[in-house]
Every structure is written in structure tokens, then in C-alpha cells.
Symmetry: C2
Subunit: 115 residues, 2 copies
Amino acid sequence: MAPREHAHPDLREVELVTVLAALAEPTRLRIVRMLAALEGERAWKDIDLPIAQSTLSHHLKILRNAGLVQNRTEGTRCFISLRDEELEGRFPGLLESVLSCGDPVPARAVEETRR
Amino acid sequence: MAPREHAHPDLREVELVTVLAALAEPTRLRIVRMLAALEGERAWKDIDLPIAQSTLSHHLKILRNAGLVQNRTEGTRCFISLRDEELEGRFPGLLESVLSCGDPVPARAVEETRR
DNA sequence: TTCGGAATTCGATGTTCGTCGAACATCGAA
DNA sequence: TTCGATGTTCGACGAACATCGAATTCCGAA
């Protein structure tokens, strides 16, 4: 289907568990990080990840239902953006702490520090 | 088995996704909240939730592997506590934001405010 | 040394999830 | 109106997960 208007949940109704589950998947977390690095919206087509379109659509739906992400339709294409300000109101500090955390230290390097 | 010494991961090796997945389950989130409200440790036996022992053990294992929780063994019983300070170092603000967020507003009440 | 309590592991079961390709719906352009 | 591009939905599959009861292991007490 072409991009249709989607229901975006009122963040007050969204449960924390839903948001955490949405973020607890590598591909979706990557999408969120990508959007956060952007400070604006991103065209659907420009989200290129090594997954099928249908899979991407699925992940975006989950992010949307969790209130993390927003769709805007323009003609036949659509744009995605983070609902960061609203999220800050409902889940203060959550998005920021998720985004700010870096990669884990490889086990080998940790081993080094144990001497 | 009786409570045995368990491996607790170095938090530097723990991935954010692992932590989020551990928290993204109602029962586990409840356990974390319960421990956080305690400011100390809690006896295994005192964690009474409407689930089988084996299920509780399973959830605690996941929380432990995610670096969220710690076991201390004393004789034949064990005590659980949150690794809150270490977590703050590895994932600044995350635990706090997760703990501070309240319940969602019921859909009915949200509807009220739409007039 | 035997017994019972404490927590873990094992095996089984049903459910949810991520993934894909195919079919579909919607829009703009030719 | 026809066509191509754009996302979405559907149906199917295997993997991962939550859950349970039973078996197991370890410890302390009798």
C-alpha cells in the first residue's frame, strides 16, 4: 500500500514495557539512533538497512505503536521522525539515556584490565 | 540446586539491547521495581509473585545476565540486589528514568481531555 | 548419615517474534 | 486511464521466549 495516515497513540496511554520492547531489538534501536542523529525527519526510502521492505515496515509499525516514531504522509511517500519532545514528557530522560550509551567494551579488553 | 555462586557479567561487556530486553517484560520489570524500592537486598523467598519457582529462577537469571541484578549466597539461601551504582556508570540515567516513570493514563481518561 | 528445604536445570508446551516474498492499495505522472 | 513507485498487509516459516512440573543438587539440621 501507499503511505496512509496512521494512528499515533497518545503517549499518556503508552506503557513503559511497550517502549522498552520496541527499543530492545537491534534493528529498531538502530533506526531510532539514525533518526536521533538527524534532528528532523527522514524519508522512508532513505532508511536503507539490509532488510526487506516488509520487515522495515513491520519495525516502523512497532516503533509507531510504541509512540517512539511519527509518520508524515506527502503524496505517495512518507517521512519518519522521532517524537522526542513528547517522549521526554512521558518518559523523562529515557530516550536520552538510551541514545547516549556507547558500545560495550569487547570481552578481550575487559580481560586486560583484570591484571 | 542450592544457591550456587553465579557469574556476574562485567557491565562494560553488557550491551544496551540486552538490558532493554531484560526490562521489557512485565514480571521482570516488577522485580526490578521491587528491588529498587528496597534500598538493599531481598531474600529470594520473599519475592512472592504468582509464578512458579522455576519461572522466577529463569527471570532472575536473565536479569543477572543483563547485569541488572546480583546474587549473594548465604548457606542454602540467596539474596538478590540491584547493581544500581554500576549500572549508573555504564548506562547513565537509564535505571532512574525507567524507575521514575509512572503508569499510563487509561484510554478513557485520555478521551476526556480531548473535548 | 539421613532428611528436608532452597534454588537451579531439564524437558515439554504453547505463544510471540523477526523475517521473507507475494499480493495489494494508493498516489503522481505520463 | 494506465503505469510505475511507494509502503502496507498477508501468510508462512523457524527461532526465541515464558511458563510449568519434575528431577536434580547442594546445604544445614536433626
